[in-house]
């Protein structure tokens, strides 16, 4: 094997693909659990009690590693691709048709998503899980978490930013999903259009679910 995941282009892409699919799974779980917000404080508190279990605590560094690997590999690949393009660009531009607009702009979309992740972590994770790692003195516990979310999302600026974020992420996911399968090699002429459509449907479901939570609080629903 001799570390082909570092030394070969396809190996590096495999890491992008697998870490991307892992983050897809995380996002799905995140979205599913968040939907309990629509069920009121008691439903959400029950879910958050699960989040304080040790098994979740173990998953935190693994998840963080997933993010870090995906981002570092992306920057590394981008730098290599930038160099592979050569020093002189095309004066007449690049007008080639591609599979999607997102396909050409994955790095930019990814960086925008990353900026929002930082905001998102400071708003919630830093007040909840991080505090429990630090000893738990200032921790917002499960029973107060519903109010924390509700307060943040009732702020129109925060909610609008979040909704923009979900749809930037949507673009990133629509290309990312089928692209991951193409890279692993589970793709052919028949499955390429199918995977592309599944990716768009999947990303749309996630984005719509997340958006609905923000709109729910923004329009004054919830306890």
């Amino acid at each position: 094997m001799k570390l082909f995941i570092i030394n070969s282009s396809i190996g590096r892409k495999l890491i992008m693909s697998l870490s991307g699919l892992f983050l897809f799974l995380f996002l799905t779980l995140h979205c599913f659990l968040n939907m309990f917000l629509l069920g009121g404080p008691s439903a959400y508190t029950a879910v958050n009690d699960i989040m304080e279990l040790p098994v979740v605590t173990i998953m935190v560094p693994i998840l963080a590693a997933g993010f870090v690997i995906h981002i570092l590999y992306a920057l590394w690949l981008y730098w290599q691709n930038y160099r592979a393009r050569g020093e002189v660009g095309y004066a007449s531009g690049k007008k080639s048709e591609t599979t999607s607009w997102a396909a050409r702009n994955m790095v930019i979309l990814g960086l925008v998503v990353l900026l929002f992740i930082v905001l998102h972590l400071t708003q919630f994770w830093a007040k909840m899980q991080l505090q429990s790692f630090l000893g738990g003195a200032n921790q917002v516990h499960a029973d107060q978490s519903y109010d924390l979310v509700a307060n943040q999302f009732r702020n129109p600026i925060v909610s609008v930013l979040y909704i923009i974020w979900y749809w930037v992420l949507w673009f990133h996911l629509t290309h990312g999903f089928w692209s991951a399968f193409q890279t692993i090699g589970i793709d052919n002429k028949k499955w390429q259009p199918r995977l592309q459509i599944i990716g768009i449907v999947y990303a749309t479901i996630l984005a719509v679910c997340f958006t609905s939570i923000n709109l729910y609080f923004l329009f004054g629903f919830g306890a």
């Binding site: 082909f4 282009s9 892409k13 393009r85 095309y90 007449s92 793709d187 052919n188």
Partner: protein, 251 residues
């Protein structure tokens, strides 16, 4: 009825690999819309000769779309604005009267400019030399039906084999990746019983050579497929990924 057009050309001129290049503008009048793009460049070169100026260097050979020698990045597209043809089969009827046409060489670190519009595509030969062959003596021509091959496999292999190695995929790619070329060359052999035996070694050797020569990493944008004059599909890239990863996991 012959129709003629007047055009303005902005052509990349570069004295040598190390020299700094720049665009030069040329006017051409009364170009027949029936002439091919390369014939138009021939007319321009004739004009330059009569003016005792240095002619424009560009690659060309068979001029019937099968040798893969012609290149040229024209108005934002490798092989110009027409679909599924090489530059030699591009005709001037695809351009409007009074249009400004920008002509550039392939741009990629793997394809350094030799002079003007000619680039060194020797990297593709090196990739082929690394493994794009079958290393057994096959003897005389075998009976056509001696080895059964399904129609689908034969068709897929033939589609991959239609790659002429022109390099338009690399030229179109925002990452300067040669994956479509390598995928076609790996696929055309991996799909057939004669080529399957060495499929692992071939995929590993050709990808290693491709990486070594400074081509970029594929991000599945599909620009290569849309510009390929032979319509080679990116499904071959998925097959290359599959062959390569299978080979690496076996090691």
């Amino acid at each position: 009825m012959e129709k003629t057009i007047h055009i303005t050309l902005k052509i990349w001129r570069q004295k040598g690999p190390q020299a700094k290049g720049a665009f030069e503008t040329y006017q051409l009048n009364n170009i027949s819309t029936d002439s091919s793009f390369l014939e138009m460049l021939d007319i321009l070169n004739e004009k330059l000769i009569s003016e005792k100026k240095e002619t424009i260097v560009f690659d060309h050979d068979c001029r019937e779309g099968i040798c893969g020698m012609c290149s040229l990045y024209i108005n934002g597209h490798p092989h110009g604005p027409d679909e599924d043809v090489t530059t030699c089969q591009l005709h001037m009827r695809k351009f409007k009267d009074g249009e400004t046409i920008i002509v550039e060489p392939w741009r990629s670190r793997g394809f350094p400019v030799i002079k003007d519009l000619m680039v060194d595509r020797g990297a593709f030969d090196k990739i082929i030399q690394a493994g794009g062959f079958i290393s057994v003596t096959t003897g005389g021509v075998p009976d056509a039906n001696a080895i059964p091959i399904s129609k689908e496999k034969a068709d897929e292999a033939m589609d991959a084999a239609s790659c002429i190695g022109c390099g338009a995929c690399v030229a179109a790619c925002k990452n300067g990746s040669a994956m479509l070329f390598v995928a076609a060359k790996v696929s055309q052999l991996a799909l057939l019983p004669q080529g399957k035996i060495e499929a692992s070694r071939r995929a590993k050797a050709m990808v290693a050579k491709m990486d070594e020569l400074g081509f970029g990493n594929c991000t599945n944008t599909g620009a290569c497929e849309s510009e390929c004059p032979k319509n080679v599909s990116i499904s071959h890239i998925a097959r290359l990924n599959r062959e390569f990863l299978k080979a690496k996991l076996k090691d």
